[in-house]
Amino acid sequence: MMPGTRLRRLAARLCSQRAMEFSIDPVIADLQHEYEQTTPGARRLIVLADGYFGFWKVLAVHAPAAWLQRTLRPFARADARMAIGALASAALSLTLVTVALMAAPVAAMAGREILGPWLLTLLVPQSLPFSIPLTLFAGVVSAISGRRVTTMIRRAVVLVGLAGVLASFSTIVWLVPAANQAFRETIARSTVLKGGAEMSPQELRNQALTLKAQGHAERAGELLFSYHARWAIVGAPLPFAWFALGLTARHLRRISTFASGLAACVVYVLYFFELHVVGSSMFTNEWIAFAVAWLPNLCIVGTSAALLSAAPERPTPDCA
């Protein structure tokens, strides 16, 4: 067998027809020619090594471009309305949930002179941890509604969910504590000590452990639960994206799917709000705090898995 034959077969699977014709084949042809012209021995090994090195360099240029083209082709063929619909739904749900969660603090401050655009801006980040999962839910439902749930769609949803987790992480770890503290200092017009909501997760945990050591079990439990709840909410976009996938796979009416997502989100928010305000010495046990905080995510994942496994097959062809 001539050298480069197996490599050519590999390249044919990875590169476009044009890249094969104008780049890969000439590399291999020159390698074979040079190999034939060289007498067996050490020189031949150098020729082979040099030729293979050239081949891999050419492959490194062409294979990623061809892979990207193959990956994007099905998405490019999918109608643009799908992407626009997904973005519109996501933007609408982001706005609605953010406004709904801002309503209570804004109502409490209504009529005060201090309430202005800056304070309203500072209230936005605290709504984001809950609006990000619902935004993802709405976006995923709009994008894949009516489609057969293929492996590629599952992967895409997981990727989108992970992107949501990253957004949630930066919001909860940095943005919310900073915005809350700025809000309090704007109201007080001076530097104020941080409360639980203004602390970073690490500060919160340290404070909780200090209080626990000092015997303040109630407050320590409350902070420890708050600490674990934050990480659970950071992870929420992924279960919500998966939940959207599970509901879409059942081929319900779109309004029913959206209503289910909204109901899940309301229950989710209430769960944390109710438990958050109830200081409990029970949560000084970190395992209990962890389990109670992650329970809603677990329930959503379990429900989604059940929905997906019981999903009926849809005969309509999928463009993906």
Partner: protein, 103 residues
């Protein structure tokens, strides 16, 4: 008005390939690498040649029948008329720039 996108561009590697092809008339990729004395690398010459073919600076043909049994036919390259014109203008412009900035 001549827009920037309509002006033929030539990188230093492309200029070198064209100069070598003008000197030798027809060359294989590997011959180009050897003739360049290390200025062209084996891994990049084929990508450069592919790009130049897209721009219309070079044309290629596959050799009639490989001497080796089971081997692939080699591809041989030649400068096109456009390639010759571009490299001629490029060389003139370089000469002018050099004399302008040598003062």
């Amino acid at each position: 008005l001549i827009t920037r996108s309509r002006v033929p561009t030539l990188s230093s590697k492309e200029a070198l390939v064209l100069e070598l092809l003008l000197e030798h008339d027809e060359l294989y990729g590997l011959q180009l690498v050897k003739a360049s004395r290390g200025r062209l690398k084996r891994g990049t010459v084929y990508v450069t040649l592919g790009r130049m073919e897209g721009k219309g600076y070079v044309q290629s043909r596959v050799e009639a029948a490989p001497e080796r049994e089971g081997g692939l036919p080699r591809r041989i390259y030649q400068a096109t008329t456009l390639g010759r014109r571009v490299v001629a203008v490029w060389t003139r412009a370089l000469r002018q720039l050099r004399s302008e900035f040598a003062r």
